[in-house]
């Protein structure tokens, strides 16, 4: 039997599991996330190995899902100094690159900003010829000053030629130690949001390097010599090399791991997952085992971006949410006592009425001292509890696309607060082991390969060409370490580009498969 070790570092907890190749949980670990995340990861590895007593040479794969890149962006710490280049002048200059970013972030990553002539129209025609001489000047200026460069060109999702050419020109001057982030590889149409995402990606290159090396080191120190992989926010894994190029794809891998872990534990591939915590309930949708992507722009650390993110709705309702009584009426949240629930909640002898107290008074949950909530009027408790359920039902309904009933899986520390039916749910599942759903999500992940390109498709050979492109994606996944016999296409999009000559179609294919066993 061979084994996998998976760790998920979240904002609140660090979870770890060791799974065998049949995906049985051998050992689980959960600990509050420490300020020094690297030491926390090393501690988790050590605890898992010790608890399992496993022969270390039997571990083939180590997976890490981590919030370190997100934290760096949110706290503005350890960010790279970035060279920010936008190609598209004379268009675009009425809003400077990263103009909409918060000032404290601009002060760190906005010291080298350039706008260069070039870019494309919506129909693929040139706005202007690429100003290669200007790019050479910029390269000489940036040499030795920055080690990460972000390049965004107008309409690069339609034609990315100017971005790739600009990279070639600059790389020839600054050398190969500098990291390049190209907007066409990170976001979609909407220049400002895509450019912001590209610059953020460039700003966390060093953090990604430290994170990946830290994980490798932690494993090696404890005698584990295995392949390492990192969780992306679409529920698949990336190699170390890929992670160093696209670290922003790790953002929000935590909620994704929670969704996938919940899916695995409940054996449901198509379901709505509600992760009920102390302060919020995070609701996501699984389609064929993978999280649905958000179609709107998303805010990250005060920055509007449009790179791929899971579609998560966060409701301000958790076990610690405060209930305010106003005579006959009441108000639920949005404030929460959060991690101070064990001292603040009435059932624990505190002075604050929380959602947990209501669940105890209602008799759904037995926790702490139920006597402490005896004085609450039963009819009032019923009304508050009904409203709590109603809030969750409304939030779940927001995430549905039709009124068809779907299974609802409850996970997280607060999942025991809910009893009975949920409107719109075909069934409500409360799986075992849901406390370490995130780490399980990281350990069960498949590895993926993606192809995104504009193709001119001859209608007569359409299906043949599409098959070829799908094979490219499968090959990518297999090259990254997926098992050839079990790799399949997990998503396929073809968008005809109406204004381009010929039969230009933008095709995006993703394949994924389980990691190959040695």
């Amino acid at each position: 039997m061979r084994y996998k070790l998976g760790i998920d570092v979240g904002g609140t907890n660090t979870d770890g599991v060791i799974l065998d190749s049949d995906m049985n949980v051998l050992t689980a670990f959960k600990h509050p996330t420490t300020d020094d995340i690297e030491t926390g990861i090393a501690g988790a590895v050590e605890a898992l190995l010790k608890k399992s007593g496993l022969d270390k040479s039997l571990i083939d794969h180590g997976m890490l899902g981590t919030t370190q890149c997100t934290n760096a962006i949110v706290t503005r710490k350890s960010l790279n100094d970035v060279g920010v280049i936008r190609i598209g002048a004379p268009a675009g200059t009425a809003i400077e690159p990263i103009y909409s970013m918060p000032d404290d972030l601009k002060a760190i990553i906005g010291q080298h900003i350039y706008q260069v002539r070039g870019g494309h129209e919506f129909n693929g025609e040139l706005i202007a010829e690429l100003d290669e001489a200007h790019l050479e000047d910029i390269a000489r200026e940036l040499k030795g000053k920055v080690n990460s460069i972000a390049i965004s060109s107008i309409f690069s999702p339609v034609n990315k030629a100017h971005e790739t050419r600009a990279k070639e020109i600059i790389e020839a001057v600054v050398g190969e130690d500098v990291a390049f982030s190209l907007s066409s590889e990170i976001g979609s149409i909407s220049l400002l949001e895509r450019e912001n995402a590209t610059v953020l990606n460039a700003a966390i290159i060093d953090v990604a390097k430290r994170t990946t090396e830290g994980f490798e080191k932690a494993l090696k120190q404890h005698g584990v010599d295995c392949e390492v992989y990192f969780c992306q926010n679409d529920g698949t894994l990336m190699s170390k090399e890929y992670t160093l190029k696209y670290p922003i794809l790790t953002v929000a891998c935590g909620p994704t791991n929670s969704l996938r872990g919940a899916s695995f534990l409940s054996s449901h591939d198509n379901a709505i997952i509600a992760d009920i915590g102390g302060t919020t309930t995070d609701i996501g949708v699984l389609n064929n085992g993978f999280p649905r992507e958000s179609s709107l722009s998303v805010e990250l650390g005060g920055v509007q971006t449009n790179f791929r993110m899971p579609d998560i709705y966060s409701l301000a309702l958790g076990g610690g949410t405060i209930i305010t009584l106003e005579g006959e009426n009441f108000k639920i949240g949005p404030d929460s006592v959060g991690y101070r629930l064990p001292e603040k909640a009435k059932v624990f002898g505190g002075d604050t009425l929380t959602v947990t107290d209501i669940a105890v008074a209602k008799g759904v949950l037995s926790l702490g001292d139920a006597e402490k909530v005896n004085d609450l009027d039963t009819e009032l408790v019923d009304r508050i509890y009904d409203e709590i359920i109603n809030m969750i039902e409304v939030a779940i309904e927001r995430m549905k696309t039709s009124d068809k009933e779907v299974p609802v899986v409850l996970v997280g520390g607060g999942s025991t607060l809910i009893e009975g039916d949920i409107e719109g749910a075909s069934e409500v599942i409360n799986p075992e082991n849901s406390g370490v759903a995130n780490a399980i999500g990281s350990a069960i992940s498949d590895i993926s390969g993606e192809v995104e390109k504009i193709y001119n498709i001859d209608p007569a050979r359409r299906s043949e060409i599409l098959d070829e492109i799908k094979q490219f994606a499968i090959d990518e996944a297999v090259n990254a370490g997926a098992d050839k016999d079990r790799t399949e296409i997990i998503s396929f999009e073809d968008i005809p580009l109406a204004y381009l000559p010929g039969n230009a179609t933008r095709i995006k294919v993703k394949a994924a498969g389980p990691l190959k066993e040695d």
């Binding site: 004379p90 675009g92 200059t93 809003i95 220049l191 709107l296 696309t401």
Partner: protein, 356 residues
């Protein structure tokens, strides 16, 4: 008279989205351009029509084209200068102030950038009081003021001037001009006298937008406070049950179906939309049609929801406001009434459907 600063742009963007009645293009890119122009050139003076000199003339500026192109290919300030110079070439250089032609959506912001760059005041009024998709759809054109000569400029230094036989031709030719010039371009249309503004413009729409934004940003009971601010009627409270979109004659047409909440429980509401919300029926009875304003607001925050943002499960309020009386003429209803958009309903003013 007052000065508009960068914070006012945040408020105006929200108000303009509400007056956009579901369409008009996201004001976000316009807002950032206006803010950067204020950074560069200073705050913009805003005056009312009454504060204009008797012989004052006022120019209207906007953008035309696809909002999806605008979010990718952002303009430059040089093209604002170029367009202004072309406008002066054909209309003379006596421009005492600038004004939006469209208070809803992204075009609320464009004249502010002209005002900042050129150092001229902005007039607190517009030619729609809302958003409409075509160039002939404003209260000046329907009152017989012709919308050419109209000048156009892209960001590459190209300009064009159009002289047409009527407003519909301006729309048709400008549409293909826009495609050739890159999908999203600037335009300057009217040069209007104080008397024309007094008679035909919709007054105080910029300050109203800013007040809407301020209310939605600060209020604890946004929907109630909006009603106090704007008057208007809540037609329906409900949740979106279904959104159907179809292509019809090259346009996307859609229907959103809502089932009722609270007092509207057991009732059904249908909103017919194209770029904007155009018809609202409750239990199959028409309750509000264009040009009256139909806005879908988030039930909790009161924030406007665009037609693209209408999604199953959203809790919302359907809020209606009467259009300005300047739309309620035979020519006005022919130009922007439900019939023009292909709906087989007569225009019945909101005041009547609410009372009766």
């Amino acid at each position: 008279m007052k000065y508009l600063d960068k914070q006012d742009m945040d408020k105006l963007a929200i108000g303009a989205a509400l007056l956009g009645t579901g369409g008009g293009g996201d004001p976000y890119v316009g807002k950032l351009m206006a803010q950067q122009s204020i950074d560069k050139y200073g705050p913009v003076q805003m005056i009312t029509i009454d504060e204009l000199a008797t012989d004052a003339t006022v120019a209207t500026f906007a953008m035309v084209g696809a909002p999806t192109v605008l979010v990718e290919k952002i303009p430059n300030f040089e093209s604002f200068d170029i367009l202004y110079d072309e406008f002066v070439k054909y209309n003379g250089d006596k421009i005492d102030a600038v004004m939006p032609i469209e208070a809803g959506g992204v075009n609320s912001m464009i004249p502010i950038i002209f005002a900042a760059i050129k150092g001229v005041p902005l007039v607190d009024a517009d030619g729609m009081g809302r958003a409409f998709p075509e160039m002939q759809m404003d209260t000046f054109n329907v009152n017989g003021i012709h919308n050419t000569p109209a000048v156009f400029a892209d960001e590459k230094g190209n300009t064009a001037i159009l002289n047409t036989s009527d407003g519909l031709w301006t729309e048709k030719i400008a549409r293909s001009l826009t495609t050739v010039m890159g999908g999203s371009i600037l335009n300057g249309v009217y040069l209007l006298s104080r008397q024309e503004l007094h008679d035909y413009a919709i007054h105080h729409t910029v300050s109203t937008s800013i007040a809407i934004g301020e209310t939605l940003m600060t209020s604890k009971q946004p929907i109630e406070d909006l009603q106090v601010l704007l008057g208007g009627t809540i037609l329906f409270r409900g949740k979106i049950q279904d959104v159907a979109r179809r292509t019809d004659g090259g346009f996307v047409k859609g229907t959103a179906t809502l089932t009722g909440l609270d007092a509207d429980k057991d009732a059904t509401c249908k909103i017919e939309f194209q770029n904007e919300n155009l018809v609202c029926l409750v239990d199959d009875v028409p309750r509000c049609t264009t040009p009256d304003l139909i806005t879908v607001l988030d039930l909790e925050t009161g924030m406007p929801i665009t037609t693209e943002g209408l999604k199953f499960g959203a809790r919302c309020v359907v809020f209606a406001q009467p259009a300005d009386d300047k739309w309620k003429t035979e020519a006005g209803i022919r130009t922007v009434g439900p019939g023009y958009f292909g709906y087989d309903y007569d225009y019945i003013p909101l005041e009547k459907t609410v009372k009766g």
